[in-house]
Symmetry: C2
Subunit: 230 residues, 2 copies
DNA sequence: TAGATTGTTAATCGATTAACAATC
DNA sequence: TAGATTGTTAATCGATTAACAATC
């Protein structure tokens, strides 16, 4: 009964809170919470306090409680958080309780690498097709999913319910292709092209700039050298 | 003459400033500045004001000036910034004026995709070898670079000057392998494994968590739906 | 009930933006 | 010189941490 009461009140809070804008900083921490909770769940841990979790994750307990309370009261005073419940709730917040159909544009090395990541499927991301301009890839399949030619793209989009497109193509083609995608109903782009996409504000873009990441690594190496010379 | 004076004073500032801790937020914006300046350079633009750059990049001019002044005065009152000079200087800050030898651990799809990114080479990142446990990959070459077996790793590290290791292996092996890498002189890890690595503080870790990125995308889709229902 | 731990308010810290004097 | 634009200080905004009353 205590748990039901808790859940009900949590749900109420979520509804009340929906208008408030959650900061990007908070959102970017959610997948990490989700990962740690998944690990705890797997090791059979039933409940955890913000304090214990904070030690594992190397963040403050305060931050954990503040972050979670953006979405509702998932814990219980004197008890902590039920791992399974919190895991499920964060999953819902992240939209992992629904399936999302996606396609990959660019079936080169990176596109194929993403296509082979079967673990995305476990989170509800279903790959429906890959597309490429290279005729050599025509008819090739990855995990049973066909690579199609780019001239089939528009037709495919119009006949399938695809939400997300991963863009693993050279930057020179990125703008042109993303325009086609959006004109044909794609609502979110996972952008691996080395460029910024400025798209209508109702289209979601999440970019992974690998070279930016490598440059940050490089910066830190240089800084470290400077530190040592002192 | 004016430029020389400027450069001298900039250098002096950089030296003076080296102790100050630059925030992660600033560092993560540097590769983006570098990218935009590279584009400007290519299109033959010689100088740019913080204001014009701010419009292109959709950030405030104030932020640009603040960010750059963490590292020294690269601009000139009444003139703006010399594109080529600023590009070069940011390159230096990011450590791109030096070469960095690296290896890839895990020659699966993602490892091979990274190996094929020839553009890393242009920024000074030189791939020296890939490693894998899969005997099928023994002797395979990517862009002329050999895949070696994991049992050759220690020997290879001891006989080559390798700074960075990209980790494109399953999370279950990540901790074990990173321990070996660090014991044999690797100073920086570009981590694609779906786990956090807690390593000695003199080892640099830069993680790319693809599934975290996809979850953020998913969150934003859900939010967008909520918004529409209103 | 007493102890534990949350949810939440208040305090602090840091990052961003605004403003403007310095100066090219 | 006058106009433009930086470098930098001050003001604002937002995010993190601390503290503690509420409550399980």
């Amino acid at each position: 009964m205590a748990v039901m009461k808790k859940r009900t009140s949590a749900r109420w809070k979520v509804i009340e809170v929906e208008h408030r804008k959650i900061s990007k900083a908070v959102i970017s921490r959610l997948p990490r919470y989700y990962r740690y909770l998944g690990d705890l769940l797997e090791s059979g841990v039933e409940r955890i306090s913000s304090n214990d979790l904070s030690k594992k994750m190397q963040v403050t307990a305060s931050q954990i409680r503040q972050d979670l309370n953006n979405f509702g009261g998932f814990g219980q005073q004197g008890y902590g958080y039920n791992v399974k419940y919190l895991y499920t709730e964060i999953g819902k917040i992240l939209g992992l309780n629904k399936t999302h159909n996606f396609i990959i544009i660019g079936a080169g090395n990176l596109g194929q690498a993403l296509a082979n990541y079967a673990s995305f499927e476990r989170s509800g991301f279903i790959l429906k097709s890959l597309f490429d301009v290279n005729p050599r890839l025509e008819g090739v399949s990855i995990r049973g999913i066909r690579v199609r030619m780019m001239d089939e793209l528009v037709d495919f989009l119009q006949n399938n319910d695809i939400e997300i497109a991963a863009l693993t193509i050279p930057r020179s083609k990125a703008v042109e292709v993303s325009d086609i995608l959006i004109a044909n109903g794609i609502r979110a782009i996972w952008n691996f092209a080395h460029t910024d996409l400025t798209l209508p504000k109702d289209v979601i873009v999440e970019s992974v700039h690998l070279s930016d990441s490598l440059m940050k690594l490089s910066y830190n190496i240089s800084q470290h050298e400077v530190g040592h010379k002192k």
